[in-house]
Symmetry: C2
Subunit: 283 residues, 2 copies
């Protein structure tokens, strides 16, 4: 890693960009923040920064180059519509057929297409997990009660289903209870899926006692973890608890955890386990 | 089929039970309606009938036997919580381990377990599609515009994803547009999934033009079509239109269509295609 150059943080929404900037700073690495207009928060204005439109690919590259960045991290959530509406600006810079190829297919194609474009401009895309291992989910139980054999069974089944959906670029999250999958994550995202589960519990459509359901998140097999890594945070824990879930299982080493201390505190308070499972799915 | 005996229609909610009773009647076959309390509508009271609680397995069998039924059809929707809360009554009649096995696993296990219980009592479970072929989706375009090559491509991809989820007993329906799967059906059901898509379109989370998205429904490979067949009706068409979808594709011969005339009328009015695809998934 070219650690003497400033780390270029292309920042979307949420708490991750600031956490990453702080982690880089703690390692003595300078930061240059490229803040996406209408998406990123203002917290990173404390660092050297520039505001750019998400579709202004040329401006992003120019700012990063001017600041002396070689390594770039894409971090924070990008609400989907922005990607869709702004990609045509990239199209103006590149050949149309290539951009059209980006449009077809799911997130993975879109995002890995974007990664290729940056690399062609001479940058190196690095994953947040490489720069800030402290933001990454550790293996084992992080908080809450100890998962039992039924939980492990459910987690293995959900991971197998996520893997089966991998080729179709959907379903990075599943809610399961006693071998019954009740929700598969689509464009609504994890929060939307958990809210749906809470509503189904409230309406009686899901009727399991507290201490059954589990949120399982895992990257799709072909997912490029530099640009699209599963993530959880305090809000995930709150929403899981609101849906009456017993726990959250994510893949250790391949999941970002924002505000890990707060995640632990809330999980312990709600009695919801947070578990980092091994990279290999298995029973 | 023992067509001289009355057809026992164990009726859940929705319009299918009445449509099935009329179809049987039109064939000259007597009907005996076993109406599930709190679930079935009153329309079938026009036929010889009895009201029973869904958990009263013994009473259902006794009523059917008394009416001289040998063939039984389970039809109409059973809101999931009823199954869950009432199965313990079956437990009182059967050995506990067997019932516990029914509890584990998804709908398929639960439903095929119920089928086995009826068969052990000497009844024959027949599918609505066997009794009333007129309620079954035909092959080809039933209504709306002609699907194009991109649509066929999307339909094939969605069917492959549904097949991949088959072993996990979830995902009988998918909403897809230009090779991007935006929603996978879980416990919320098809209507719930379409409402979610409409909300995501309204919020800008899905931003495709009218004339892109498709609802694809297909039975899971191992699904017992006698007791759990995909179904669409006029409300499906309305909700698909509200979500801005371009069409609905279901498997010909393996999907029930309630009020087919009305489905056609509304699909033509909304400009939403309704397509019956072949039993074999493929491009």
């Amino acid at each position: 890693m070219s650690e003497t150059t400033p780390l270029g943080i292309i920042a979307g929404a949420g708490a991750f960009p600031l956490a990453l900037a702080r982690a880089a700073e703690a390692q003595g690495r300078p930061v240059f923040a490229i803040l996406l207009k209408g998406i990123a928060g203002k917290e990173l204005e404390a660092y050297p920064h520039a505001w750019v439109g998400i579709g202004q690919f040329g401006a992003i590259c120019a700012q990063a180059r001017r600041a002396g960045c070689r390594d770039l991290v894409l971090i924070g959530s990008l609400v989907r519509p922005n990607l869709w509406t702004t990609l045509p600006d990239i199209g103006a810079l590149k050949t149309l057929p290539e951009v059209l190829r980006l449009y077809r297919g799911g997130d993975d194609h879109l995002l890995s297409g974007i990664a290729r474009l940056f690399e062609r401009e001479g940058f190196r895309l690095v994953g947040a997990h490489e720069v800030a291992p402290g933001l990454v989910m550790p293996e084992g139980r992080l908080a809450g009660p100890e998962p039992d054999a039924d939980d492990r069974d459910d987690i293995a089944m959900a991971r197998a289903a996520i893997a089966a959906l991998g080729p179709y670029d959907v379903g990075q999250g599943i809610v399961i209870g006693r071998r019954r999958i009740v929700a598969v994550e689509g464009a609504e995202g994890t929060d939307g899926m958990l809210e749906r589960c809470a509503a189904m519990v409230a309406s009686g459509r899901i009727r399991w006692g507290k201490g059954v359901g589990i949120l399982v998140k895992a990257p799709k097999p072909q997912q490029d973890r530099r640009i699209d890594m599963p993530a959880i945070g305090p809000a995930t824990v709150d929403k899981a608890a609101a849906a009456g879930l017993r726990g959250i299982a994510v893949v250790a080493g391949s999941t970002l955890v924002v505000e890990m201390d707060e995640v632990v505190r809330r999980a312990d308070r709600h009695g919801v386990f947070v578990l980092g499972v091994g990279a290999e799915a298995g029973p």
